[in-house]
């Protein structure tokens, strides 16, 4: 993505001022730690220390759009008849600060399924009023592999404005109209010099090469298709998986959900919450379960991301953020699986 060459910059020390200014119009979310767990949380108005330690969140920013749980509607029996009440529409204007390119790309991937045919009102309404301020990575994790998925640590494709760490300052570039408009409205930004621009270019170049984990995505869907029935392979690959939901629930592109009701004293709520294809009950029907065995579930996870989603929506449902590798309790590594797919027999 080519960025317009009309960039601004802000000193890292002045991030607080910038966020304060934006807080007047938006509810601002920044990376923060709760008991060591990094997530995007409401900015407290002062703390900008994340500038020093932030690499990426544990809870993916998808949680802002498809929360771990949400009320779909409430129902109440009134004079023998049910009345449904939808939650008030979420009109709050939010600004998510320092979202990583991989996570922003993930939202563009999620848009496809939630816009498909029947529009998902909950997700899409949140998408409308949230501004994404991207921050390019200068220190990717050893589990990151975004460069294998046509992206990079400085990919600005799906953010509204993009920040690049150029040392003592952040270079700021508008990407979308909304982003450019915000820059225009923001006071106190300095004009970036040509030197800043070239410094940013160097930083981007350098961080691109810091991502060393690679997968080969060429013909990945046909490779997966040809080994789909290779039970032995999938059983071997799945052996150490413990079928927990970490890699899926905390994946920025996983969107599976469950719907359930609760009724307390005639007051009912229908919830939806994250669900995972790693759980055996996910597909369980009264008489049978098409994915009872662990290897079928592991295969589903891999193939959904790299084969089925690609077939249905033209894009791989993975952005290489590496959370599934980093957070896995048994170090189950999807890149190893993808790199060891058996050749066609």
């Amino acid at each position: 993505m080519r960025l317009i060459n009309n960039s601004k910059k802000v000193n890292k020390k002045d991030i607080g001022k910038l966020l304060s200014q934006w807080s007047e119009e938006f509810v601002v979310f920044v990376p923060s730690k709760e008991n060591g767990v990094v997530m995007m949380a409401k900015w407290d108005g002062t703390d900008t220390s994340f500038v020093d330690w932030y690499r990426n969140t544990v809870i993916p920013p998808k949680a802002h759009f498809l929360p771990p749980m949400e009320e779909m509607f409430r129902f109440q029996k009134d004079k023998g008849s049910y009345q449904l009440e939808q939650p008030a529409s979420d009109g709050q204007k939010q600004l998510i600060f320092a979202i990583r390119p991989c996570d922003a790309n993930a939202l563009a991937i999620l848009d496809k399924v939630f816009e498909d045919a029947y529009e998902d009102p909950y997700y899409l309404s949140r998408r409308k009023n949230r501004l994404l301020v991207g921050l390019g990575c200068t220190n990717p994790y050893d589990s990151c592999f975004c460069t294998s998925l046509g992206s990079s640590p400085s990919d600005a494709a799906n953010v509204d404005l993009m920040l690049t760490d150029i040392g003592d300052e952040f270079l700021i570039e508008g990407v979308t109209d909304a982003g450019k408009q915000l820059i225009a409205q923001t006071s106190g930004l300095e004009e970036a010099t040509e030197a800043d621009d070239s410094r940013a270019k160097e930083v981007r170049e350098a961080s691109y090469h810091k991502v060393t984990r690679r997968i080969d995505t060429k013909d990945i869907n046909s490779k997966l298709l040809s080994c789909f029935e290779d039970e032995d392979y999938w059983e071997k690959v799945a052996a150490k998986c413990i079928s927990c939901g970490i890699c899926t629930l905390l994946c920025p592109t996983c969107y599976c959900f469950d719907i359930s009701d609760e009724l307390v004293k005639q007051q009912g709520t229908r919830f939806r919450c994250w669900d995972s294809c790693a759980f055996p009950i996910y597909t369980k029907m009264p008489m049978e379960n098409p994915r009872e065995e662990k290897w079928r579930r592991v295969r589903q996870k891999v193939c959904h991301k790299y084969e089925f989603y690609l077939m249905n929506f033209g894009v791989i449902a993975c952005t290489g953020c590496g959370r599934c590798i980093r957070l896995c309790p048994v170090n189950w590594d999807i890149t190893q699986t993808l790199n060891s797919l058996p050749a066609k027999t």
Partner: protein
């Protein structure tokens, strides 16, 4: 030790004494290991033993069909014994390759101490009672009490009691176990209401990934109560109330089976201090019923037997 392990494992496979070897191999990330479950005698050359062999491999025993040669640290061996007590695993179907365990390094503690993430460190090595860490070319030394997992600091039996082959010399537990109890003692010092609030707060982060349950060898139920729908005990929705109820019941269900291996807390992606629950339950079981999980394969499981005279004072 590693060489001996590989030799023994290879021999077990070659002689047909076991169908599987379950051990550790180097992980795909720095300072990590990953379970190696294999029938292939060439692959056993990848087996390792180092201060990062975190997983409790007993977890895999219930799902593997056939005879298994399994690498076990002190706590893991007790989990195996506990599974034998519960008739989940037959003693003759496992060959236990015991490792006297000097304690496992808690990378999150290292990260906290150094102020850098795991992948930014250059080297971590264990030297006696010290751990030496290199970052940015600088080395620093820490006492093991600062960097081992809490449960390792509190470990009473680092050397497996039940084994077929013991790799290396028996090792002694850490002498001062107080550090391992620090969090729990701190909680106990709080009045009840703040304590309840502490737990509801911590559990409000839970996303119900069930990693705590799924890494736990003591959680071997085919169908967990959280998955029951008739009646539905818990909502699948990750609200703190349901999350908290899940943890309480899980702890009661594994009482007498939990060996304080600490896997639940380590696996938790949102850092809920789960060991502060499991360890307290472990202690309650010891205090009320003088029972320790996985000590003797011929003892009946805790909840299936009773003494005529015990823990009565609360009954009217």
């Amino acid at each position: 030790m590693e060489q001996k392990l590989r030799r023994e494992a290879k021999a077990l496979l070659e002689q047909g004494q076991v169908d599987y070897i379950v051990g550790f191999e180097p992980g795909s990330l720095k300072f990590t290991t990953t379970p190696l479950i294999t029938r292939d005698k060439e692959e056993v050359d990848r087996l390792v033993i180092n201060p990062f062999i975190v997983n409790n491999l007993a977890n895999f025993l219930t799902e593997l069909k056939g005879r298994v040669g399994i690498i076990a640290k002190g706590c893991d061996s007790r989990s195996i014994v506990s599974l034998i007590q519960d008739n989940k695993v037959a003693r003759e179907d496992v060959v236990i390759l015991g490792i006297p365990c000097p304690g496992i390094i808690d990378l999150s503690k290292v990260e906290e101490l150094i102020g850098k993430d795991r992948d930014e460190l250059e080297a971590i090595s264990r030297e006696g009672d010290k751990v030496v860490i290199t970052a940015d070319g600088k080395t620093s030394e820490f006492s093991i009490t600062e960097v081992l997992f809490d449960n390792c600091l509190g470990c009473e039996l680092p050397t497996p009691q039940e084994y077929d082959i013991l790799l290396g010399e028996p090792t002694l537990p850490v002498t001062d176990r107080s550090a391992s109890q620090a969090k729990i003692e701190q909680l106990k010092g709080m009045p009840p209401q703040p304590r309840w609030e502490f737990w509801s707060n911590e559990l409000s982060r839970c996303i119900r990934c069930y990693a705590c349950r799924n890494v736990c060898p003591a959680c071997f139920c085919q169908r967990c109560f959280v998955e029951e729908t008739e009646p539905q005990w818990l909502m699948p929705v990750p609200r703190w109330q349901d999350n908290l109820m899940f943890q309480v019941i899980r702890n009661i269900h594994v009482a007498g089976r939990c060996t304080d291996c600490g896997e639940c807390e380590r696996a938790c992606p949102v850092n809920i201090p789960l060991r502060s629950l499991t360890k307290e339950m472990y202690d309650i079981v010891g205090e009320l019923f003088h029972f320790k999980a996985g000590m003797d394969k011929d003892t009946a499981p805790l909840m299936t037997h009773y003494e005529q005279e015990e823990a009565e004072d609360f009954i009217r």
